[in-house]
Symmetry: C2
């Protein structure tokens, strides 16, 4: 049973209360709390050895635990407001805690989000962060709004984090500088909060890429009941990944997780405006394909073989 | 370093944003989200083998994970609205999940709270539930409002859950019926939501008893900058605990955790009204002492010796 089936089966409750506009299944929940304001709620857990290698610096864990949650707010176009954390620690290690708290607060400060509560308990190291944000009523960006003919965009570069993990796990060897760059992208993802807010009223659909472009785009296609065609030469690869064999680099970019970049679709007429925003924001926004009418069908002009997890074609 | 010092040191951020009325340190956070409504946010983690014995039925785990959070909403006088959960599972066990989900939903249904999101991940079993509730503006019950001369009340019976744990851990032997009763009180605590709402505008201070009466009352006294005198004959003991040696029963009632009863203070003039509510609600509300002016000092007309953890007097 896949995680999505599990959630669907055990934790999708009906009927949904009237004030809950989006419940289980999108990047975050959306609840109407005031006539003109909606509350956006997201929760993510990081488990030691599962979501980060066992020797990840505490500062990076604190930073990343918040970053992955903020990325969900970015994907929905929300302004971050408050966070809570549930921290389970195997022992009281003050050096570790100081570094962790510092990493958390550094990003919180940048993002303008404030810690309002939590729970601290003893057990195997795990960190659950819940973020709350707000948007004006009905302006949140959902996964379900992609339209046939929309262009598909992604922010930043794809595959760097998965490449960083491969380097740490010694499945891949890179020049020192590239290895350091990819490890930094794994440990310190950049939630695209400003982009998310800018996309309100512009993008037809949006989500963040946490499980890899292909897996996440498929969710978007299913939610929107559309298909997509991708152009492999447009997939944005960092200078570090451009040095790899193309099919290896594309493998990381298409199926590697932990990028936390935004994936969104917008009508063709917005292309010039998006290109201009790219110049102003200095953030790469690449058009990587187009939405088609073939429901849930994803195709690409390149066939991948020998990917790490046996993935070899799109459906 | 104690949990409270840890939170104080690493996770108490300043300055608090204007819309955050109560932050880290009370039963829950309180945030102003609309002109006449406040959002109440609480988070609690349950870790396998720490917060419940390893062989606790999944149904009870689901029920209790929500109950301990709802108890925080009860303590603040909030109406429960929404919950999220972060579920970390060692493996996919559908029987376990079905029972867990059933226990969670059973209590959620009773309490009128709705699941809006979450995160599922693989790792050592741990459950983090976050509840959100609402109150009319400025009506939440805080720990900091106790007044000299207030009477101190507790709901229900104290010490049953700790006695249940002692039975499970074979540190104590009880007649079968009493053992079953105490184990049920450990596994299925009753969040006192209706009482919490009723206490709005009546109690001067309120919190829930999760760490034991003495430990929790001390927090209330510190928050309110007052002292307290307790009367040992008024501590409410269930019929099961009344059969034990008085000092053993009082030990469980005063220092045992997991009761999730409400502890509140109210002016003497409300005594008759509270006694009448007790009759109507069929919920025991015992006056167990009085608030004094001796800041943070807690005294009782009975000296306890030989408590399990070496506790032998108040101060």
């Amino acid at each position: 049973m896949h995680e999505f089936d599990l959630i669907q089966h055990y934790f999708t409750w009906t009927p949904t209360p009237a004030e809950v506009r989006v419940s289980v299944g999108d990047d975050a929940a959306i609840v109407q709390v005031a006539p003109d304001e909606e509350l956006i709620i997201s929760v993510d857990t990081l488990v030691n050895g599962v979501h980060f290698p066992l020797d990840t610096p505490a500062h990076a864990i604190g930073y990343k635990a918040l970053a992955v949650n903020l990325s969900d707010l970015a994907a929905i176009g929300a302004k971050p407001r408050w966070l809570t954390q549930a921290l389970t620690l195997p022992k009281l290690d003050q050096d570790w805690l100081a570094d962790f708290a510092h990493g958390l607060k550094e990003l919180a400060h940048q993002a303008g989000i404030f810690l309002i509560g939590g729970d601290t308990t003893r057990g195997p190291l795990s960190i659950t962060i819940q973020v709350m944000g707000t948007t004006p009523k009905q302006q949140a960006l959902l996964r379900s709004g992609a339209q046939v003919g929309d262009l598909i965009f992604v922010s930043g570069y794809l595959g760097d984090a998965a490449t960083g993990l491969a380097v740490i796990q010694e499945r891949l060897s890179l020049p020192t500088e590239d290895a350091n760059y990819c490890r930094e992208r794994l440990n310190y993802p950049s939630p695209r909060l400003e982009l998310g807010v800018w996309l309100r009223g512009r993008a037809n659909s949006c989500m963040d890429i946490s499980d890899g472009l292909v897996a996440d785009l498929k969710h978007l296609l299913t939610s929107s009941q559309v298909g997509a065609k991708l152009y492999h030469q447009s997939i944005p690869l960092s200078p570090a990944l451009q040095k790899l064999d193309l099919s290896v680099a594309l493998g990381f970019a298409l199926t590697g997780g932990d990028d936390y970049e935004l994936l969104f679709t917008a009508p063709k007429k917005l292309l010039a405006e998006i290109e201009n925003y790219q110049l102003v924001s200095q953030l790469s926004l690449k058009c990587i394909g187009e939405i088609t009418s073939k429901t849930s069908e994803l195709s690409m002009d390149y066939e991948l073989v020998n990917l790490p997890d046996g993935y070899n074609h799109f459906q």
